[in-house]
């Protein structure tokens, strides 16, 4: 019979305690690889399990915490070998007792992208290998534990769900302030993992039960799943390594966690069978505490949970429709431009960002996940993936870190059947448009009927009611004047009769009319009053955000009007520097790093000057001036970069101007830069790139930890004549040398330049590099010599 966390005959489920602590007490030196004991000393492990079973553990964790392909790589043993041995030892110990055996999966030991260099897909493969070996060896369930990165946790959970039929318990480690090391919050953990299909979730390690209790209470409010507590025996002493909480105190401190709703308990570092025995005794006669689930819809990233208990703004700008510059960025793979558009919306106060990358000539299935990863590397807002392509949606949701929304489905059965299973699998929220094969119904009643149909379909797929958002559709008021009222009526009914979140792209309303912002703003206010909770707007339009700020005051959401007062207090402060004032020249603005002024002055200059001449005669000489000051030690690095960024603002003006005319972009020449294989610190390389780009060079930045083969391949494919390589550590200099060696073996070897903290002119020439660049400024001189 399959193991069931919800078994009503069982009130509490008791897990085991620490393995590592007990082994160290029995003489295992710290820092070793305890998984090898599965081969070398099964008797020792069996004795520990038997003690836990006698103490009352109903689930015991096999000794497989670090038995993944990365950590075992240097041991000469395979994952399957260790996992099979471990499960069989655990099963022998549990034989005849009814105790269940868990395959234990801890963190892989390397950080995933974007914090580290391990790709999500590779992490998934490593966990898959373990999970499949575990099921084959006869594990009853999987325990994913001690996780601190939600992304890695997702990879592990997906690997178990997609490749085994085992139930899975997931616990993560939090610090006292309610975050994991990587910043994940309790609510983000709960909302994401429940959506992905975990069977029980909870907290383990890091702290004692006293410190975990408030976090466990928060977790209980954020999930319907059974909640697990497997705390440490307090905190360790740095001198003798002993934990400061004894078995009695531990069991007593766990009771408040149980009162908060925890039903699955055990111990982590510092605990022993005695702790489990006391815990079992303390639970005798207790019954599970009642739980209250907060069923307000949430979407999240690991660090930011957006709780939909008021009006929340969905930013609409990451979308190529009608935007030439955005289309160009998509076609050129310019992800940084897209990130920039997203950042502007985050800074303007958006709560969620809609992401649409559908455009002729763009492979959406490849592009959507790339854009999701890139946006999440620097943004903290939740995303709404906007596509009608199921494969693209699945690819995007798969690599999304957190709980996303999907835009959109409609009332057509085929569309619902195509998209809703994907929404359910990845635990997303979904936007339903109130239209179907017959088009957009003219009456509010008909639109509400479609909304009901969408809701029923979602529920039938197991998507919770609160995760269904309905878009009642805005029509252009100048064309169909009576429709504005119908839309508002439908919004009201969906919000107040069905109790669902409501989405509306509002700006359509004012097409074809003068003073569009006035109509749009008025409609937005009416719609929010009718029950609109999720307006899709351009948050950079101040009038729209002002209307929302005002509405939040009038609806009572903005307590004591504080956010409103803050918003307008900032505004009344005098502007730092009036844009393009009086006598400032473009050159001054660049030298002083004033981006807005530089852009405004460039726009003005373009009325009388050609783009290319602006770059050659004004922008570059100004950059040179700052560069020379930096070289002489008279300017600091931030000043050099400030000027580069002002130049970037000018370039953006020039690019937009050229894109509008349909001309070819200004580009001086192309080069490749990369941080070499094994090296993960890349701010130096990024500085070089910023400066080079703002001299007009096209920089193909291959990133960090780049294998020589990738660099060679790029150089050959793109006919590159100049390559810059960066290394920070002595341990990665050999990788730099190898890269140069491979580049020189090409039929037409490119010119190479190298730099980075440990690189010297001597090393550079020994390695066969053509140039040594001591800083970003020198890399410009080199680019000039080589590329002109």
């Amino acid at each position: 019979m399959a193991f069931d966390f919800f078994d009503p005959t069982r009130e509490f489920l008791i897990l085991d305690g620490a393995m590592g602590t007990v082994l160290q007490q029995r003489g295992l030196p710290p820092g070793g690889q305890p998984e090898l004991l599965n081969l070398t000393d099964p008797a020792l492990l069996r004795s520990v399990y038997e003690e836990y079973i006698q103490a009352g553990s109903q689930v015991i964790y096999a000794n497989t915490f670090g038995a993944n392909g990365l950590k075992l790589a240097r041991t000469g043993h395979s994952v399957e070998e260790i996992v099979t041995a471990a499960i069989s030892i655990t099963k022998e110990s549990a034989a005849g007792t009814g105790v269940r055996v868990a395959l234990d999966m801890g963190p892989l030991g390397e950080l995933l992208e974007p914090m580290g260099t391990l790709p999500f897909e590779r992490a998934y493969e490593l966990f898959r290998e373990m999970a499949m070996a575990g099921e084959k060896a006869g594990a009853d369930l999987v325990a994913i534990e001690t996780m601190t990165d939600l992304y890695e946790t997702k990879a592990a959970l997906l690997a178990v769900k997609e490749n085994t039929s085992l139930p899975v318990l997931v616990t993560m480690s939090f610090e006292e302030r309610g975050r994991t090391f990587t910043g994940c919050t309790v609510s983000a953990m709960a909302r994401t993992l429940e959506g992905l299909g975990a069977d029980a979730i909870g907290l383990n390690c890091s702290l004692g039960p006293d410190k975990l209790a408030p976090l466990l209470a928060e977790l209980c409010r954020n999930t319907r799943l059974p909640v697990v507590a497997k705390p440490n025996a307090g905190l360790p002493d740095p001198v003798d390594g002993h934990y400061d909480m004894g078995p009695e105190a531990f069991a007593a401190a766990l009771l408040p966690c149980v009162e908060a709703g925890v039903t699955v308990v055990g111990g982590c570092c510092g605990t022993s069978p005695e702790y489990i025995r006391r815990l079992k005794a303390a639970l005798a006669g207790k019954t599970p505490a009642p739980r209250t689930y907060d069923d307000t819809c949430c979407v999240c990233t690991p660090v930011t949970t957006c709780r939909l208990d008021g009006v929340r703004v969905i930013g609409e700008r990451v979308n190529p429709t009608g935007k030439k510059r955005f289309q160009q960025a998509l076609l050129e793979n310019d992800l940084d431009y897209i990130l920039d558009v997203a950042i502007q919306q985050e800074d303007a106060g958006a709560d969620i960002l809609d992401v649409n990358v559908g455009f002729p000539g763009v492979d959406e299935v490849a592009m959507l996940p790339r854009v999701v990863k890139h946006l999440q590397s620097a943004l903290s807002l939740p995303l709404q993936l906007d596509s009608s392509n199921p494969a693209a949606l699945e690819a995007g949701l798969r690599v999304y870190n957190g709980k996303a929304a999907v835009n959109s489905v409609n009332g057509e059965a085929e569309v619902l059947d195509r998209i809703l299973p994907i929404v359910k699998k990845y635990g997303a929220a979904v936007v339903g448009l109130t239209l179907d094969k017959g088009g957009i119904p003219q009456s509010a009643e008909q639109r509400v009927a479609i909304a009901r149909r969408i809701l029923d379909a979602a529920l039938s797929y197991g998507i919770p009611r609160e995760d269904v958002w309905i878009d009642c559709l805005t029509l252009t008021v100048s064309a169909q004047q009576e429709q504005a009222a119908e839309t508002l009526k439908a919004v009201h009914a969906v919000r107040h009769e069905l109790g669902l979140q409501t989405v509306l792209g509002v700006s359509n309303i004012s097409f074809g009319l003068p003073n569009r912002p006035l109509i749009t703003q008025s409609f937005l206010t009416q719609a929010m009053y009718a029950g609109l909770t999720l307006p899709i707007i351009n948050p950079n339009q101040k009038a729209m955000m002002d209307a929302i700020a005002a509405f939040r005051v009038l609806s009572g959401e903005d307590a004591q009007c504080q956010a409103y007062i803050d918003r307008f207090a900032e505004e009344s402060a005098p502007a730092a520097a009036p844009a393009a004032s009086g006598s400032m020249t473009l050159e001054d603005a660049i030298v002083r790093g004033l981006q807005a002024d530089a852009a405004a002055l460039a726009k003005a200059a373009l009325e009388t000057e050609e783009e290319l001449s602006l770059v050659e005669n004004r922008l570059i000489p100004a950059l040179d001036l700052v560069g020379e000051r930096y070289e002489k030690g008279k300017a600091f690095l931030p000043q050099l970069l400030g000027a580069a960024q002002a130049a970037q603002a000018v370039f953006e003006v020039i690019r937009t101007s050229i894109a509008q005319k349909g001309g070819t972009p200004v580009k001086k020449g192309r080069l490749v830069i990369a941080t070499v294989h094994g090296d993960i610190h890349d701010i130096g390389k990024n500085i070089v790139r910023t400066v080079l780009e703002n001299y007009g060079y096209e920089v193909l930045d291959l990133g960090r930890d780049v294998p020589p083969e990738v660099i060679v391949k790029t150089v050959a494919e793109h006919d590159i004549h100049l390559v810059g390589l960066s290394a920070l550590m002595t341990t990665t200099l050999p990788a730099m040398e190898e890269t140069i060696r491979q580049l020189r073996a090409l039929p037409q070897p490119p010119v190479t330049f190298v730099g980075g903290a440990v690189v010297t002119p001597e090393y550079a020439s020994q390695m066969g590099a053509d140039y040594y660049a001591k800083d970003a400024r020198q890399s410009v001189e080199i680019a000039r010599k080589v590329l002109g």
Binding site: T182, P238, G633, G678, V759, T760
Partner: protein, 219 residues
């Protein structure tokens, strides 16, 4: 704890008189950083066992070999292993800052370098207070002198630094999060002289731009 702004400005080069505007910008960045990130550290005490090739930390397989360890620990019966980090939150901040404003990102990076060293200083004060009557050597890290970087994985394993602090070591011995430090501090019952301050001991001695200009960062 606020990052030391003078220290951060030193990392940014450009001479001894930073413009007031830059100093103000650095002060604002330092404050924002301190509000979101504080150094965290862990340490562990080990008796030292003298062996032919160096000092072994008792109860582990970790051997501190080479001249640096020899010189630093010659009068010590015990040593503390220390790890300190700003965590991945700092790297996330720098990544986000790089996408918004590269100039600000390098200031943030410099403030982070200052802050993690201050975290080590605090740990050192904590250790000194914990062992009254014993004298501490200067702290020294893998990469200083001839203490090999390849000790990094073993040091982090013995300190359980992945679980305690979230520090990971890559196959090329880099620590991730980027602002992470491991160090050894010897404990002796005799007063210890300062041995490793100054350019001669610095890993940057060949490439430091201050040194090339005939100056020193003062450490």
């Amino acid at each position: 704890m606020l990052p030391d702004i003078d220290e951060a400005l030193r990392y940014l080069g450009g001479g001894s008189h930073p413009p007031e505007e830059l100093r103000q910008q650095a002060a604002a960045v330092a404050e924002e950083l301190a509000a979101q990130v504080q150094p965290r550290y862990t340490y562990k005490l080990f008796p030292l066992v003298r062996e032919a090739d160096g000092f072994r930390l008792d109860g582990t397989e970790l051997l501190l070999s080479g001249q640096t360890a020899q010189r630093m620990l010659s009068q010590c019966g015990q040593a503390v292993l220390l790890a300190c980090t700003l965590g991945t939150k700092f790297d996330t901040m720098v990544r986000s800052a790089q996408a918004r404003d590269m100039a600000r990102a390098v200031i943030l990076d410099a403030c982070g370098s200052a802050l993690v060293e201050q975290g080590c200083d605090e740990a050192e004060r904590d250790i000194a207070a914990r062992f009254p009557g014993l004298y501490l050597t200067d702290r020294f890290s893998p990469g200083y002198g001839d203490l090999p970087l390849s000790l990094q994985p073993a040091i982090c394993a013995v300190l359980d630094a992945e679980r305690r602090l979230g520090i990971h070591v890559t196959s090329s011995f880099l620590m991730n999060p980027s602002k992470s430090v491991t160090a050894v501090i010897g404990l002796s019952d005799k007063p210890q002289m300062a041995r490793i301050r100054g350019c001669a001991w610095c890993a940057m001695r060949d490439t430091c731009t201050l040194r090339k200009g005939g100056k020193s960062c003062g450490l």
